[in-house]
């Protein structure tokens, strides 16, 4: 895995955001290198979801700088659309399109955004379905699949756009416990293939296995950022310590 030290995948400088009177992001500084896997954790309300939703323009920020894949994000729809072509996102609620089959879900964006011909797109889609291990579900509708299968389809759907960066917003939080593993396995495999990943999650086992860096956020700030080893054995801040204790208690 060769890291291109010249260009960062994501560069965040002094990012600030308000929801009305309430400041949800208080000056975030973060740099993610190409191929790096970053896990972001923290209590609810800490702003972690908001942060990664800023990265692909689903949320607009108020102050600071955000540069994704070399493109600086401003209040400009064309820039945002350009960024989104290189960044994929997987949602907590899967958000599959219920009126389309699994295959159609995967092919929609490559056809209409990238203008690729259908046959080529379908071949690639089947490849990705094989990679997430559910090629036989191609003609089914999302409503006919289990939660774990739906999330794997969602991951495959994002991958069909060949993104350079993948964002995960609590991908397993809406799943029944027995289906969490199948999704995490796909994410582990994705990590091993060299994808740059930013993942908001509570799954600490996954973090320990895959992350290059774990970031702990609380009340809109980054409290601590270190490699998994140091993070769990030697947390520097009191807040981090209590959070780890809570999370590990629930497994």
């Amino acid at each position: 895995m060769i890291l291109q030290t010249a260009q960062a995948a994501v560069e965040i400088r002094k990012l600030e955001k308000w929801f009305g009177e309430f400041q949800v992001l208080r000056g975030i500084d973060l740099e993610v290198r190409v191929g790096e896997k970053v896990v972001i954790c923290g209590p609810s309300g800490s702003g972690k979801s908001t942060l990664i939703r800023c990265i692909n323009g689903l949320e607009l920020f108020d102050r600071g700088h955000l540069i994704v894949d070399g493109i600086e994000l401003k209040d400009d729809t064309r820039r945002i659309e350009e960024v989104r072509r290189h960044v994929g996102m997987v949602f907590q609620q899967f958000n599959l399109f219920p009126h389309l089959t699994v295959l159609e879900n995967l092919c929609l964006a490559p056809i209409w955004v990238q203008g690729k011909p259908k046959r080529e797109v379908e071949e690639q889609a089947m490849e990705y379905l094989k990679r997430v291990r559910i090629p036989e579900q191609a003609q089914k509708y999302p409503g006919q699949l289990s939660g774990g299968q739906q999330q794997r389809v969602a991951i495959a759907r994002s991958l069909c756009m060949n993104p350079k960066i993948m964002l995960f917003d609590e991908p397993t939080s809406a799943l029944d416990p027995e289906m969490i593993k199948e999704v995490l396995d796909v994410m582990v495999e994705l990590a091993a293939s060299g994808m740059t990943m930013l993942c908001v999650t509570h799954e600490m086992g996954f973090a320990r296995q895959v992350a290059d860096r774990i970031i702990f956020m609380d009340k809109g700030e980054i409290v601590e950022a270190s490699d998994p080893q140091s993070f769990f054995t030697n947390p520097r801040s009191e807040r981090t310590r209590s959070f780890i204790a809570q999370v590990l208690q629930h497994g």
């Binding site: 920020f61 108020d62 102050r63 994000l73 401003k74 209040d75 400009d76």
Partner: protein
């Protein structure tokens, strides 16, 4: 984008959406341009005081017209000295709401089904008077808001039991009963209320044995009831479909008969679920009662329309319509807000 939220958000919005801002400004100006003369006519220049046409000389709205005719608009041709009887009727209906909401009333399970059938008869008895030994006021003299509310209430009250029977019939597994229920419902839902009123006015006398006369209002009520019961049946069917099969199974396990299951377990739940639907049907019926005007009865709108053709008050049509519109709007709006709140509360 990196502007602090200290810049007023609306200034940022105007800069970002210039076309929409221009349209909004235009809309605002237009609205004021149209609204000011209306307010001027209806309130500022309007005549509120006086007793006859001569008081209306300012060119604004002549509310004296409404004031002078208010009794007719409210009661039709019912003598105003006997206005206590319509009020008594109103009181009876309001009293009838009590068992619906007082969940622990003793004997509730007898009173509630019966009152839907009794209240219409009681209303007729009180208003007409002859059954109770009072001075008789024929139904042709009942009019105005009294008639509107009467037709709507009686219509809903009688269509509820009939609707329940039809809904149950439609869900029956016996083909004859199901087929009869479906035909009845689809026929009455497929034809306009006006056609039904025409049919009731013209054909009901034909269906009765020769020589039997049937009161004009009664014909309307029959038509309205049959028409509304078809819509009511569909509303109730929705509620019945929402009851989980487990309820039927539990009742069967407890060895309850069909009627016991329906009366004690299924219907109470189903009806509670569709109360908003029932209220909406009532609102629709309330608005539709003005159609009786076409078969010669004078509800609120009918009275207003008739009054506007009075030679003494020619040209007052607008005032009449605004008044009638306001009364209808008030009732409908209040009921629909109530229905919304009910729906929200029932979701908990």
């Amino acid at each position: 984008m990196a502007t602090a939220p200290l810049v007023q958000p609306w200034r940022r919005w105007v800069r970002a959406h210039p076309l929409q801002a221009a349209l909004s400004l235009l809309g605002l100006v237009l609205g004021v341009y149209l609204l000011l003369p209306a307010i001027d006519w209806a309130i500022l220049k309007a005549d509120f005081r006086g007793a006859d046409r001569s008081a209306c000389d300012s060119g604004g709205a002549c509310w004296v017209f409404v004031k002078v005719r208010i009794e007719q608009f409210m009661l039709g041709f019912y003598p105003s000295e006997l206005a206590w009887r319509p009020l008594l009727t109103l009181g009876l209906w309001l009293l009838g709401m009590v068992p619906l909401f007082w969940h622990h009333m003793p004997g509730r399970w007898i009173v509630v089904p019966l009152q839907f059938l009794l209240l219409p008869f009681l209303s007729w008895a009180v208003l007409d008077g002859s059954w109770l030994g009072w001075e008789r006021i024929e139904s042709a003299r009942w009019g105005g808001l009294l008639l509107t509310l009467l037709i709507a209430s009686i219509g809903i009250s009688l269509s509820l039991p009939l609707g329940i029977l039809l809904a149950l019939g439609r869900r029956s597994r016996l083909p004859v009963i199901k087929w009869l229920a479906v035909s009845f419902i689809e026929v009455w839902r497929g034809v306009p209320l006006i056609a039904v009123l025409f049919m009731a006015s013209v054909m009901l006398p034909l269906f009765l044995p020769p020589g039997v006369e049937i009161d004009k209002l009664l014909r309307c009520l029959v038509g309205v009831t049959l028409f509304t019961s078809a819509y009511m049946a569909e509303v109730i069917r929705g509620g019945l479909q929402a009851i989980p099969k487990g309820q039927y199974e539990a009742a069967a396990a407890l060895n309850l008969s069909f009627f016991q299951t329906m009366g004690l377990v299924i219907l109470p739940q189903a009806l509670r679920k569709v109360i908003p639907g029932i209220v909406n049907t009532f609102i629709g019926l309330f608005k539709d009662t003005s159609l009786v005007l076409i078969v010669g009865m004078f509800d609120l709108l009918g009275m207003v329309q008739a009054a506007s053709t009075d030679p003494e008050w020619l040209g007052m049509a607008m005032e009449g319509y605004v008044f009638a519109g306001f009364v209808f709007w008030l009732f409908s709006f209040a009921m629909s807000r109530y229905s919304l709140r009910l729906e929200q509360r029932l979701q908990h």
